[in-house]
Symmetry: none
Subunit: 198 residues, 4 copies
Amino acid sequence: MGGTMDVTKQQRRGNTRQRIQDVALDLFAEQGYEKTSLREIAEHLDVTKAALYYHFKTKEEILVSIFDDLTQPILDLIEWGRQQPHTLETKQEIVRRYSATLAGATPLFRFMQENQATVRELRVGETFKERMQGLREIIVDPEADLTDQVRCVSAIFTLHAGMFFLQDIAGDPEAKRKAVLEVATDLVTQAHRGGAEG
Amino acid sequence: MGGTMDVTKQQRRGNTRQRIQDVALDLFAEQGYEKTSLREIAEHLDVTKAALYYHFKTKEEILVSIFDDLTQPILDLIEWGRQQPHTLETKQEIVRRYSATLAGATPLFRFMQENQATVRELRVGETFKERMQGLREIIVDPEADLTDQVRCVSAIFTLHAGMFFLQDIAGDPEAKRKAVLEVATDLVTQAHRGGAEG
Amino acid sequence: MGGTMDVTKQQRRGNTRQRIQDVALDLFAEQGYEKTSLREIAEHLDVTKAALYYHFKTKEEILVSIFDDLTQPILDLIEWGRQQPHTLETKQEIVRRYSATLAGATPLFRFMQENQATVRELRVGETFKERMQGLREIIVDPEADLTDQVRCVSAIFTLHAGMFFLQDIAGDPEAKRKAVLEVATDLVTQAHRGGAEG
Amino acid sequence: MGGTMDVTKQQRRGNTRQRIQDVALDLFAEQGYEKTSLREIAEHLDVTKAALYYHFKTKEEILVSIFDDLTQPILDLIEWGRQQPHTLETKQEIVRRYSATLAGATPLFRFMQENQATVRELRVGETFKERMQGLREIIVDPEADLTDQVRCVSAIFTLHAGMFFLQDIAGDPEAKRKAVLEVATDLVTQAHRGGAEG
DNA sequence: GATGAATGAGGTTTCATTCAT
DNA sequence: AATGAATGAAACCTCATTCAT
């Protein structure tokens, strides 16, 4: 039986785990976590549901593994941020780096944004919240006045929103990304100055 | 059997429809649409699932009815906005009014935000998108440069984010609401000036 | 409330029972008994389900009442047939009369034919079987040889089949009815002769 | 759990699909399609409802699979008939072969006959109609006069009726089958002669 | 003569998961 | 490394029926 395996199947050898993650993320992002069944994932890969269970213990674990792989850069960013001085330049750099991170894992962030209700009850929900908390800590000055704190949070959300909600606005994607980055940078800059002046 | 109905049940008579909507929205907002089963809603109300179907044709229709009832103010706001001159004051007033609208229907907006993936495949998804589109039209100047357009969209998102994502930030809720409003107003103001100066 | 009843509704007064029977028979014949729900019947009549229960005790009783009203002619025919001599003329007359009876209650017979499985578990099933049994008794000579008995049964079935299964054959309906009647008459005639000769 | 599976269950392995078809056909024929629930089928087989869905995508597909398996002979018969000359002998042979086909799939034909209303809305309904249409085409001469056409259709219906409606008539089954076949053969013979003479 | 509100039973279907092979 | 077969739980939904008004 193994001998009659066709070429397509042979090529798959050994990277099924990765392929599951890829397909799963695509489907999760497109349809949501609950609406994506393991049957569907399996069918897209032309394997059986049981095969998924060889590679992952549960449906949730598929998501966890994707999440862990793709959000490592955020962890790194937070780690880096913690060791920097709380200067304006640092904050601007954080915004720049976070923007790049988002761009490198768009489907996952889209998924996290669009499935918050679901994700909240999952392990990744808690983890993601912690990451966001960490991000806030390195970008928001707890001593600043409330308005400036909001500005910093807003900067992060502007970046998030930029990924999806600007899709329906006309314009070249790269131009839009730059515009979004500019607005976000502006927001942290104002926040910083506000604090300095106040 | 009907004769032995207890007082609690009698009082309910005639407002079951409303009560279904209330409980459903609570649960939808808390757990998500998919994770909330009709059984659960029914149990909370101490009626049978079939009773829900007497008042609503499908699960989706429950959501639609809630949505239609609670988003009427946005429709009114868009209508109003269309008839105003495109001045800075108008935009600031739109931000103020939208902020008030959000405050008046927090659970629904929380739900819409946190269940985007699900909602996208539902009728309310399309409708909501249209509403947001309408809102953008009255607040974003298509002639302005991209950065200023992003500022306006960002203002709306700041208001949205303000409802939920600031929950973990310390501070008096009313103070936070004002801070959020201020940042959003700032953003449209800058956008307007930018356009004027550019 | 009664005072504001519109004209259409006023006209309905007093014949609702009949109207239920009419609509029910139409739907039963078209979709089958099981697939036709009381909700559907009620909607067609623009009344509530509960109204049906004012006129009939159960769904089955609606069918029973229709059946009893429309199959009385068969009862009469059997009664008549029992008092006639067992001549060829009698048999031919039975075929002629039965053909007329069928023509006068096509939807019911269509229903009975197409819902035998369902009807078998209903009270009308038993009754219908008895009627058919009675019909057989007056047209089949138990002394005749088996082939001729089959001819007589076949005559009855030819009449039944004539109602529906010839629909897809081209030709004027009245011409078809006559052709069917001729074949059926032929069959009983041959049966009679066979018996006489054998 | 799997290890403690009893002998009876082990023997079943690998032929569950066939067993589902068998039990389903029995129950469909006995009680009708709608009245037969998947729960019932599953219970008869001592498996869960979900097991049925492993083997068939829907309830309807169970029926389709049974139908396709059992009506293949009719397809073959039509195919054969189309290649024969339109002689009397051919028609008589068709009657003989069709009679044999019916005898080999009695429960299915009983089911189709007794559940026409239901079946009409199912995929098999359309298919069955086409088959019957095909059968008519090879046995009915469209040039013949209407009465003779009716005779041929009547022959087919006599065969159908023979399977069920003669059940209540006394007599040895094999003798009855022969009698039915004789009457049907007679009908096509008369039809053929009529055409020849007319 | 009819409605409004509700129920209890049961329907088909889908899902994540298991396990022997 | 993966399959085939199956399960248990639960989902949405529909139906005939009831009864106070």
